[in-house]
Symmetry: none
Subunit: 302 residues, 5 copies
């Protein structure tokens, strides 16, 4: 165990050793093990976008084993997915990579900005998962119910040594489409996840837009011109770095943009990437090459 990881774990001061051991497993896994940096492979697009939009571009990805193997071969930190795919590979890959059970899920056809709870802490235990993952939509009409769901589930998880990852995606209500990626909105969303007791916070990389009129004054003297500076602000909103924060890059895009994101996350003091479509929607060889470069960026080798 490295001093960096020990220092990160020390911030989770109210957690029992079981929960810390699962955080440690994620932080010590793979090629970034011990660096304090993480790359997580999330595959929940099947629920969100359906199978064809997710996997038709790279048909081997229809098989849940594909993703387990990709995460392992790329030396990543953890693999996150809903119940079905975790069940489909949990025995074959038992003990090979920490898994995060995504316990709520939305879908393209829902008219509500909400998700169904589709997994439980008991599922996480029987499947050997290190954490549960839960999405909240700050801004939505159902945000209070979502908060109450994750309060219940994370309390249950903390008692049995399972860590909690919160995906915090501002959406709904008066938040504009542009505002969903605004700096003030992203920092606020990250902060709410921290306030709710998340161990690991997942947000999107923010733009330099400021959405909330009431927040303009607080941001006006800052320099938000670079993505790294914006990452640093989001990290600040995560209890000044006392909570792990990882960033997603959104829709699939060019490799260079992905690398630049990783550099900015690194330079801004973020803990890493959670990167799904940009990997499994590429051919496996290209995905491994891309992940290799991202890993090297986080290791300061690029």
């Amino acid at each position: 165990m490295t001093p960096t990881v020990k220092s990160i774990l020390s911030h989770y001061e109210s957690d029992n050793p079981g929960t810390k051991a699962n955080l440690a497993r994620i932080l010590m896994q793979g090629r970034l093990g011990g660096t304090g940096k993480l790359v997580i492979l999330p595959v929940d697009q099947g629920f969100e976008h359906g199978p064809a939009r997710s996997f038709a571009i790279n048909p081997p990805a229809y098989d849940p084993h594909y993703h387990y193997q990709l995460a392992i071969d790329a030396g990543l930190s953890a693999y996150a997915a809903p119940l079905g795919p975790i069940e489909a590979g949990a025995d074959t890959f038992a003990g090979q990579i920490p898994t995060i059970l995504k316990v709520n899920s939305s879908n393209s056809w829902s008219s509500r900005v909400d998700q169904a709870v589709t997994g439980t802490v008991d599922d996480a235990l029987r499947l050997g998962c290190s954490a549960i993952g839960f999405t909240i939509y700050p801004g939505s009409d159902d945000i209070f119910e979502q908060m109450e769901e994750i309060r219940e589930m994370s309390a249950e998880a903390k008692a049995v040594g399972i860590a909690t990852v919160i995906w915090s995606y501002p959406r709904g209500g008066e938040i504009s489409k542009k505002g969903e990626l605004a700096l003030d909105v992203g920092a606020y969303a990250a902060h709410m996840a921290a306030l709710l007791g998340a161990h690991i916070i997942k947000v999107k990389l923010p733009t330099d837009h400021i959405e909330q009129k009431d927040a303009v004054a607080a941001y006006k003297d800052g320099d938000w011109s670079t993505q790294a500076k914006r990452v640093a602000h989001v990290r600040q909103a995560c209890f000044a770095g006392r909570r792990i924060v990882v960033f997603s890059g959104g829709a699939a895009k060019g490799s260079d943009a992905v690398y630049q994101d990783a550099r900015d996350i690194r330079d801004g003091g973020g803990n890493g990437s959670i990167i799904g479509r940009n990997t499994f929607q590429r051919p496996r060889d290209e995905a491994l090459a891309l992940l290799d470069k991202i890993v090297r960026i986080y290791k300061n080798e690029e």
Copy 2:
């Protein structure tokens, strides 16, 4: 036990032996036992359409024993029905054919696209059922609640060795009537059932219509001109064949259409048919003849 069945069972890698034994019972039952193919007789039209629309055309079918006996005599794989009919024959036919307790049900008069939970895992145990069956309506306003119901029930079922069959019928919300049978929609619906942890997935045979604008790109390079190819895509959406998928044919229709469906399911790699009205709404002799031919199709004898 045949290598084919062993291979299918091996995909349910997180399940306990009790659940696998019940899956094995279904897979080893009747004339298709050991082939990896299934024909299931479902009789839940009483709830859906009322008794006369269901049974007047073939009055012996008012008697629940009729269906048990039909399924047994035709050498089918399992018989699925709601609580009442299962209770009405569970003693007489105990041990003769695997049963699937349909644990939620709709009816013609409901204004909501939803179902009531009308059976339990405890019922399934006391009645000796091998599985529970549950319908979800992706697209409906109540889909999240439906998902949370089946999460509870299938977790309970898995713990006591009962398998889960999900009927996944897209309906409601912005899905058009034509869209309910669209290929993209059907594959998505099947995929959601898999993501929810179903052991057996039941969907409708899809048309070549693509409903979702966002999905057009993912489908535009594929050849969906034949039903077999569409079946193959739905199978792909069921974890690349790691989950059993069976197809229904919808409303009663001509025998030749039914046979063609079976051939397409077989050729597309589907696991079989779940066929209700096309059997019990025919005189028993005709039904047995029709089922005999379907069985022979799945055995590659036709």
Copy 3:
């Protein structure tokens, strides 16, 4: 233990010794220990206004340890915050200052005048908190549900020796913006908290406006010209002083206004201040100087 504190505790005559011990801890803590006066540091603006609006003006305040330390160094009575920040410092500062777990929380984006329950009595126990804090919005459409939530939670808390603090903020429904601070409304809100069984009541300092037509007659003969007299009336509404009542000052403002508020609270017989933004949005030195003067005011030294 001073006679003043003994007298205050004697008013909580149905409470078990565990709850009284926690009230005593708050009343005996810090520089005001034993005086019957309290100054509480609340930091829940992260939920309410987001991180930047809360902390950008004084960046060290992004770190939850900052607030614990500020409350301790200023000799305050207690520190109140949501789950995440309490978890982030509960071990480091265990036993150093009584904490109040804010168990429900709103946010800027919610369209409802409501809060999510984001903490539990079990959390309070495992984190060593002396009290739970809960906000109600008398006037809102959801007030009955809020009342039922705090009924459940405070009953549970009282059974295990945890005290209850109710933040009572009139808002929503037919209450005008001006009316939220009206004397009759504030007294009514404080009284409802007392009626609900709160041990400590937190309201805003009221203006001399009378909002409710039906209440005009009741107030017409009174002299509400000074803030101290209005405080005395609110205290009267808190069971004639049998319940502890503390006042918040609202948005950050000039020091002199803050001091005058404290003098008025003191002179009107209020129990003290709950003062957040006016402290942590100042540089630490200034905040300590301001809190020092407030403490001295409550000790009748200023």
Copy 4:
């Protein structure tokens, strides 16, 4: 909070902040607050010896308030007693001194070397106690049941932030009367309490007798000639000082012997005294004088 206390608390690394806060309260209480030393007043002789043998010599001690007040006035660290006496003073003295609820008790007439469980963790919570106290009799026929009782109770206590004190008194079976105070036996008894998960361990000051034949070899090269050295060995048996260990002096005896015990405990690195009969069986003035001197000894002032 002093570095000494922070260091002691850091050894309880698996405990939640609630439990640590209660340990901190004991360690920060009274005249020894912050020194890492403790003096606890235990009054459970009523159960053990009956009221007259306990209190006739100093009749005011029949009143439970007497003991609370004695512990407070002497500036002690905590007061320990069974359910009845704690209930009889818990309100009057709420928040004035940490209390330890003795949750099992024996009596003079029992023919078994055992105790009845006479209090619960729920009692401790409603009475505002910082810890539960439990006696085990290693050597007795019922030791396994006693261990299982404290396992249940301390698990429950740890979950709600209550500390556990184990009184470990070797007795019964093949242990001779002389052996009950033997060094090897006392160290073993202390060690068993530590193994069971006690936060604070209470044993008797050992003699230099070695009781167990099998242990002679392990002790033969040590120098056990002074009581301080024997204390140091018992401390070693408490996880090399990672667990707090306090010593009782047994039956009432002369003041000088009591002072010498305290000096030896201090010099041997023990954490303090738990001293009952030697205080409450003296007139109050004498008891206060004696306790004052003991406190000064632990503060290295004598």
Copy 5:
């Protein structure tokens, strides 16, 4: 994950992936990771023999951290201990080595051939343990109760993904002292652990004595002249190698005897050693050298 480990895991065919993941963690840990061989450090002699007999010969071993560090530095597979010592280091060493919570314990003074249950599955979860360890004494008057205890606990453990290790020590009743180490008795004890559903079985290395008259015939044609052959027979009794079996060497002895034991275990097809007193009762440097050689023996390098 190596083919050897995959093969071992495949034998636990009714276990959920959570339990397999914990077995995998043990099998992939340290210098023997992936070989299918294990060396476990057990430190429960404090309960069994008291602290001085256990640790006086090597005083640093009084500190629970000593053993965690020894197991880690020697590259062992797991560390096993009762509740107190696991609690004392679970946070410092979280995630660094799999731990086995010894959930029942005896002591030198007990007149019964039994143990107290001193830990729980909930403890194992909150402390991040990979397995529970439980001792049975086949032959004792209390064996049925012991069997029922481990039935309850291992069922609970298996449901939440915790593995079960059974220490099976024939003792009591009509078994002679010599008979405790007899081949037939040892094989029988190992078999009973397997029959009870243990994942890992711990027994003593057997002599060539045959204790039971009724068993003489069954053994008379075998060649039991070498320890390796006797190990092979015990392995046979553990479901022909379908369950992991590790051997203890008993009291501290010379290094050469320890090495020979390891070679015999290896050559007989045993899975490894559980070796306590022979390591922690030596100076740390000697212990590390001894463990290094044992590891190399299991790696076929010696």
